[in-house]
């Protein structure tokens, strides 16, 4: 009886050893490459690969090589391999990393409209991807180029970190549509930014009598870099006379604002556009 039990235990242990399975998985695989998994032991088992990047199941013959095709697992990330037989469970992890070659960019450029000569006014962020839309975590040089017509482009090169490269650039001195481009490897992306004139720089007006009224008019209104301030910008003429204040709002047309106001002798006339104040006149009846 004892001898039978001993033989039974030995046989059972041998069976378990014989059917015990092992797996060998490469630690790192590049996206787009086949994955070779070596299994050890004998018999049949189930191979599972799971991770936030993918999942698959195969029935395998233990002791053979299992080949995972590139299109079965191509998302970069951490995967766990389970090899399960009737008597054992083995597991191992491996990583799929992005291909080092950049295939595309996701480029965010803000804002789409901004005034000229604004320090650090333009922000660009580029996310770098491989062919399988995996974030390329290895560092790459990303070129950002800001170009206005008839002006030399401004170029900045930034090293990406964990798939992200960012830049802040000044808007140029000239108004117009600027092209803002990000390039790395085969990836390129273009955005158009509208650079509009900034606030008025020097606001000056003149006055002359016309009939019984006073015609006030500004000089062509420009920002500090010489761009004509946008038509439609409101200019406010204010007349202070005998303790009373009256205002006239006039839009810019072709850079000039003008209005006709009562010609009160001794009146003080001022002009303003937004927060910019212009010169002041005192009307003494034509003297």
């Amino acid at each position: 009886m004892t001898r039978s039990c001993t033989i039974g235990v030995v046989l059972s242990l041998w069976a378990q050893w014989a059917l015990a399975a092992g797996i060998k998985v490469p630690k790192i695989v590049q996206a787009g490459q086949a994955i070779s998994i070596n299994t050890e032991g004998n018999g049949e088992g189930h191979l599972y690969i799971v991770g936030p990047g993918g999942a698959l199941e195969k029935t395998v013959q233990i002791g053979t090589e299992v080949l995972i095709e590139p299109d079965e697992i191509s998302n970069a990330g951490r995967y766990t391999v389970f090899l399960i037989t009737s008597t054992s469970t083995e597991a191992s992890d491996f990583d799929v990393v992005s291909s080092p070659e950049v295939s595309s960019l996701s480029f965010l450029a803000r804002p789409s409209r901004l005034p000229v000569s604004l320090r650090d006014g333009i922000g660009g962020v580029a996310f770098v991807f491989d062919t399988y839309h995996n974030l390329v975590l290895q560092s790459h040089s990303v070129h950002f180029q800001l170009t206005l017509p008839n002006t030399a482009p401004e170029i900045r090169t930034v090293e990406s970190h964990l798939g992200v490269a960012w830049v802040q650039m000044d808007s140029s001195a000239h108004a117009g549509n600027a092209s803002f481009e990000a390039t790395v490897g085969k990836g390129t992306s273009l955005r158009i930014l509208e650079q509009v004139p900034a606030d008025a720089c020097q606001l000056r007006m003149s006055a002359r009598p016309v009939g019984g009224r006073l015609h006030v008019q500004t000089e062509p209104l420009r920002d500090c870099t010489g761009n004509l301030v946008a038509d439609g910008t409101i200019v406010t003429f204010t007349e202070i006379y005998d303790g009373n204040r009256s205002t006239v709002d006039a839009p810019l047309k072709n850079g000039i604002a003008q209005a006709d106001i009562p010609a009160n002798k001794g009146a003080v006339i001022t002009v303003a556009a937004g927060e910019v104040l212009g010169n002041q006149l005192r009307w003494n009846g034509g003297q």
Binding site: Y48, P52, E57, N75, F82, D93, L108, G123, L162
Partner: protein, 176 residues
């Protein structure tokens, strides 16, 4: 008296087992001095951490139930597309996998100047539980570093990119 003590001991045991199974992950958050370019307000930091942890919960739910709709409130863009693909692969193979996160060490690494992108690095530990045709097969403990990019949406931050970094962390052997 002895019966009462046995009952109390059993009650304590059950309570702790249940508590362990729904335990919240341990979370550490770090904002380095070099973080930028946009400054990070405390409210934004708290909201991002809250919504990032929610993404783990939603991902686990989606992959445990093979239900891609569970991803809607936490993921967007390429991250959502990829996870939807994983759900589809799992459905095809008749398997499910749950991801019970145990701890996170979240480091903020980038906040874009216009406020539309925040990137975090997360040294996470989690348990992967594999089931085949509804029958639990194995669990496995994983340590991995994840890189995530979140973007603000109507009412919350959503994960737009979600990917593990290679060769960081290790894992324990499987248990059944």
């Amino acid at each position: 008296m002895q019966l009462a003590m046995v009952f109390l001991a059993l009650l304590w045991l059950v309570t702790n087992v249940v508590a362990d199974s729904v335990a919240q992950p341990v979370v550490q958050v770090e904002v380095p001095q070099s973080f930028g370019p946009r400054p990070l307000e405390d409210q934004t930091k708290d909201a991002v951490v809250r919504d990032y942890l929610k993404c783990w919960n939603r991902m686990s739910q989606a992959l445990e139930e093979n239900n891609a709709a569970a991803l809607d409130t936490a993921f967007t863009g390429i991250a959502k597309e990829k996870l939807e693909g994983v759900v589809s692969q799992q459905q095809k193979a008749n398997i499910t996998a749950s991801y019970r996160d145990r701890s996170h060490h979240i480091t903020f690494v980038f906040y874009s100047s216009e406020g539309l992108s925040i990137q975090v690095v997360d040294d996470a530990e989690y348990d992967v539980e594999l089931s085949d045709h509804g029958k639990m097969q194995a669990t496995h403990h994983v340590k991995a570093r994840y890189v995530a990019v979140l973007t603000p949406t109507e009412v919350s931050w959503k994960v737009r990119m979600f990917q593990a970094d290679a060769n960081v962390g290790d894992s324990a052997t499987a248990k059944k």
